[in-house]
């Protein structure tokens, strides 16, 4: 807000196209043998798609600094939860019994 212009239908159509391409790409990539990189590629595409939705469909690119900071903080906490939980569970077997 704050008097800034909102996206136009043309931009929304471009974002829609990118999201559809991303979805087709995830689907196709799932059948390519990439070993350990299969889930990495799938999640990278998912993160790109989510970012596009958040920035444009949810107008975060055009919103106040307070909103942007709040959202970043929220996602940062989510990352803390995931990385700390996984770093615990994944390293338990490394300890001497």
């Amino acid at each position: 807000m704050s008097g800034q212009a909102h996206p136009t239908p043309k931009l929304y159509a471009i974002i829609l196209t990118c999201l559809v391409i991303g979805t087709v790409l995830t689907y196709r990539a799932a059948f390519w043998e990439m070993g350990i990189f299969n889930p990495v590629v799938a999640l990278a595409i998912a993160c790109t798609k989510a970012t596009l939705v958040i920035l444009f469909f949810m107008h975060v690119r055009y919103s106040s600094k307070l909103t942007k900071l709040t959202i970043s903080a929220g996602f940062f906490w989510l990352l803390i939860m995931i990385t700390m939980s996984l770093s615990d569970y994944l390293t338990r077997t490394y300890l001497p019994r």
Binding site: M1, S2, G3, H6, P7, T8, P9, Y12, A13, I15, L16, L19, V20, T23, T26, Y27, A30, F31, W32, E33, M34, N38, P39, A42, L43, I45, A46, K49, A50, V53, I54, F56, F57, M58, H59, S63, S64, L66, T67, T70, I71, G74, F75, W77, L78, M81, I82, S85, L86, Y89, L90
Partner: protein, 260 residues
């Protein structure tokens, strides 16, 4: 403030008295909505974290469970939901422009796509019911030792059999006992599948309720360039539910599809 209260008697009917301007009011509402959505993010995030831990612990069972659900329907549903996010964004845009008819049509389009998503989801759930892949023994036909309905129809949904056959294709012999153990562990995968997609579908149903309410207000011509906050916040909610699905699709449907 005390002087402006007496001088500015004319203002937009939707402006609450505690706000200075419509802009400030919308900023506050958007902020509040985001705080709510972040609590939702932490709820789904907890499930995603638990899912990741169990996926790493029982990877073979998660592969077997994941390959038994229809990737085609999951893919279709992703496209349907992305399309509905687009129509929702367009509905918010038409509200900003004060285009009453366009708002109504884009909202109806969003509701149709949202319902299509739930319809496809119901079909997928029915297939799982049919294959006896409902975890636990309270509802459904029960999850048996083969991970399928082997008593009545030995080929239907028999995960242990599928594991052995997949092993043969890649020239590795998997003993039936090991395959059956993995098949039983897929119950964990299906618990996550039903809990996460179920919670997501529940949010979609709430979203359809919100869209109905927005549709009625849009019909009355409540929204225009000055005031479209409910539309904006409804849009935020709908897009958030879309984002959850964007992660659910690759995590639940696309585990190691190369092995099939």
């Amino acid at each position: 403030m005390s002087t402006s209260q007496t001088t500015t008697t004319e203002h937009h009917p939707a402006l609450s008295h505690q706000f200075d301007s419509m802009e400030q009011q919308q900023d506050a509402s958007t902020f509040g909505m985001w705080v709510f959505l972040l609590t939702e993010l932490m709820m789904f995030g907890g499930l995603f974290t638990a899912y990741l831990i169990y996926r790493l612990k029982y990877y073979a069972a998660f592969v077997a469970g994941s390959t038994s659900i229809s990737v085609g329907w999951g893919f279709t549903n992703t496209l349907v939901l992305i399309g509905s996010s687009f129509t929702m964004a367009m509905a918010v845009w038409s509200a900003q422009k004060g285009m009453r008819k366009a708002q109504i049509w884009f909202l109806i389009g969003t509701m149709i796509l949202g319902s299509a998503f739930l319809g496809i989801k119901a079909k997928e759930y029915y297939d799982k019911w049919d294959e006896c892949h409902i975890p636990g023994h309270i509802i459904g036909k029960g999850f048996n030792a083969w991970g399928g309905c082997s008593a009545s129809n030995p080929s239907l949904g028999n995960i242990a059999q599928e594991i052995v056959e997949r092993g043969e294709k890649s020239h590795t012999e998997i003993p039936l006992g090991a395959a059956r153990q993995t098949a039983q562990q897929t119950e964990i995968f299906f618990s996550f599948y039903f809990l996460m997609t179920g919670l997501h579908a529940f949010h979609m149903i709430i979203g359809l309720g919100l869209l109905t309410w927005l549709l009625l207000r849009a019909k009355r011509g409540n929204f225009g360039p000055q005031y479209y906050t409910p539309m904006e916040l409804g849009g935020l909610y709908w897009h958030f539910v879309d984002i959850v699905w964007i992660y659910l699709f690759p995590l639940l449907y696309l585990i190691s599809r190369t092995r099939t």
